[in-house]
Subunit: 421 residues, 2 copies
């Protein structure tokens, strides 16, 4: 597809997807689950065409780093995991159709709400072809249609995967246009999606992508910006417990967005807490970026402590680095987090109930925690059963987003001939 | 304020409002209600400065039509109604702070959700200065800050009203920057709001305003487009009841967005239903814009029936006009509504349960009704207690939007030292 032919082709794809979204919205639970099982069977079979397509992407990626290449691989184990994911999603409760809060009003009408699919969503993602299947399976389960736009380095793999999805939809007598791939590496397609006839756009990828979409999109966007997560060790913390939780929050895995990037410590416990933490982390290779007051406490124990710059307070390291700052009180901790954080996930370590409650209320983040590792901010840990992403936006869906984030509600009014007076 | 000085001034206002939003979010229920009562007292007192400001706007509006001028008037009766509105909002349950669905997960953490204010919203509105008070009182109750931008023809009145709001906030020891007015007729201010540091933008006004905001805004928008509402009289309708409901839906009041603009009638009952309706409406002066099949049925009874053009199916008349079309079945009715409607409010008149349920599920509108007048689509009729607007968007809030639409949730995690394994 050349750029000249791109827009008409995308418009046609959009119309077909919108039409398919109507059929998906009224499809039975059984049909949608049948499509997911059909997809799982096809993935497990690892058809030759899929393997060949993946080999083609891998050959073209010979110049890339090993980790980037590894993310492209669709071997038997990866496909089995994807198949299992489809089956797990099929087993979840249908999020669509529930009618709630039906109440009789003084006029005599009954008013309630019905949960319904969003309609048609778009997703732009990079590199990992797995995301095609994750997005497609969540769309099918939630009665939506979707338009996917993957990275150019996985184009052949994505094509082959979406082929399987469309076969599975056909087998379940659902419209194959319900899951479509924008089948071109042309970056103009991303700009088009930002203004397409879709109900939601979900960008998943690097900061450049998210910022481009945020600036250009006039359709609603569900976005995930930084995960600059904090742990605050309060004056009333159980320090042994705090040590365990802070250690887990930083070092259990450093690359996820819910890993802690900044540590605030109440001045009253800093001299006791920080040397213990520094001793623990000296062995693990964690580097402290420390404020002037905490630096000497750390440097007594570890060589891996350097002065923090102003930029450190806003940095998402995604590495064995952490910024450290002493604070005078809870107010200062909350103010620092609201100013420098990314409204993702922040935790307080304390045994003092009023401080815990104030932290929960006043820290303006998608997830706020007491005495638990920030690493828990995750759709599966929260019991959502599936996760389409983590939102740092405030509207519609916040934090880990599951199937319900792909639905909305409508008002339902049941009358017996009532009129307005 | 000239255009050169505008942007720095707006940035300063934005920063102050954002800071105030944090204080509002942690203010007690009692303080927010006290501010509402203080505002009600000030409005009832109808201070001279306010009367003078309103007189100034009215003098400048001498060239406007009488109905437009009438909407500007802030006399004792209008102010008393506004005061009563503030007191009613004060009496509502606090929407903020509720913690729900707290459940223990296999990891041992407890996960739930807390309802919290959105933060800072913007509202652009036209003409009626009442809207200043409605928006301010809803913002105060819901723990938000807001930036208001009213029409230039009500600038002096809005200034005086917001002065009262800020006095009331001060009296309740809340930050007066929580409710601010953009104090200039410069239209560049609307463009600025479309990209300001706000959590939600609510445009209220004519189609031109809504379309401008939709095209320019990169902040989330809660918008209300057309109200092209439908009634569908099914083959299984109780025709006497249908006559009453359709009559109310069209003629009880023609200007609101929830008035019916289009009537679909099943072919099997058209010959019986339409002449009865035409006879009823001949007396009321309703003009039918009719499809070729319905036109002769109507013209037997009324002279006020003209052929419909394609444009009629998408028209929101807001007058004593209605489009009429015969349909072959429920599928055709649903398809017509989803294609030509505005996803606002649509009703089916039927005694047939399966048809009622299919209509509820498959019509993609904010409100779907069975045997009730579309005029019920209203925050007060739905029991919301207050209404900031009616949304035809699908995300965050749909249909009538009350206080809850000005809030969001955060995830709350309560642990006892749990870590992720």
């Amino acid at each position: 597809m050349d750029t000249d032919g791109l827009l008409p082709a995308l418009s046609a794809l959009n119309r077909a997807a919108r039409e398919a979204s109507r059929r998906m919205a009224r499809a039975s639970t059984a049909a949608r689950n049948a499509a997911l099982h059909a997809l799982a069977r096809r993935l497990r079979a690892a058809p030759e065409a899929l393997q060949a397509a993946n080999a083609q992407d891998l050959a073209a990626a010979a110049h890339l780093d090993a980790p980037l290449r590894a993310r492209l691989v669709l071997d038997a184990a990866t496909l089995a995991t994807l198949a299992e994911g489809c089956e797990q999603i099929a087993a979840l409760l249908d999020p669509v159709g529930a009618m709630t809060n039906l109440q009789r009003r003084p006029s005599g009408i009954q008013v309630g709400q019905m949960r319904v699919p969003l309609g048609l969503f778009g997703m732009v993602f990079e590199s990992r072809p797995n995301v095609s299947i994750e997005a497609a399976s969540l769309a099918i389960k939630s009665g939506n249609a979707c338009i996917l736009r993957g990275g150019s380095e996985a184009l052949h793999s994505n094509r082959a995967l979406i082929q399987l999805v469309q076969e599975a939809l056909r087998e379940a007598q659902l419209p194959e246009a319900a899951v479509q791939l924008i089948d071109t590496p042309d970056r103009a397609a991303v700009g088009w999606l930002c203004r397409a006839d879709i109900d939601l756009l979900i960008p998943r990828g690097g900061k450049g992508l998210i910022e481009r979409v945020s600036a250009e999109a006039t359709v609603p966007v569900l976005k995930h910006l930084d995960g600059n997560c904090h742990c605050y060790v309060d004056a009333h913390a159980d320090l042994a417990q705090a040590l365990t939780v802070v250690d887990n929050a930083k070092t259990q895995k450093v690359s996820p967005c819910n890993a802690t990037e900044s540590l605030l410590v109440h001045r009253a416990v800093a001299a006791e807490f920080l040397p213990r933490l520094a001793a623990l982390w000296a062995a693990k290779g964690v580097t402290f970026h420390a404020c002037p007051d905490s630096l000497p406490l750390l440097q007594r124990v570890t060589t891996a402590a350097v002065p923090a710059t102003e930029a450190d307070w806003g940095t998402e390291y995604l590495s064995l680095d952490i910024s450290v700052k002493l604070v005078d009180d809870l107010d200062a901790a909350i103010a620092h987090i609201n100013q420098h954080g990314s409204h993702h996930t922040d935790a307080i370590l304390t045994t003092h109930h009023p401080s815990a409650m104030r932290f929960l209320r006043e820290v303006d983040s998608a997830s706020v925690m007491v005495n638990a590792s920030t690493r828990f901010a995750d759709g599966f840990e929260y019991g959502l059963g599936a996760e389409i992403g983590i939102s740092t936006d405030k509207l519609h869906a916040r934090g880990p987003v599951g199937l319900e984030g792909l639905t909305t509600y409508k008002w339902v009014v049941l009358g017996e001939g009532q009129v307005r007076t």
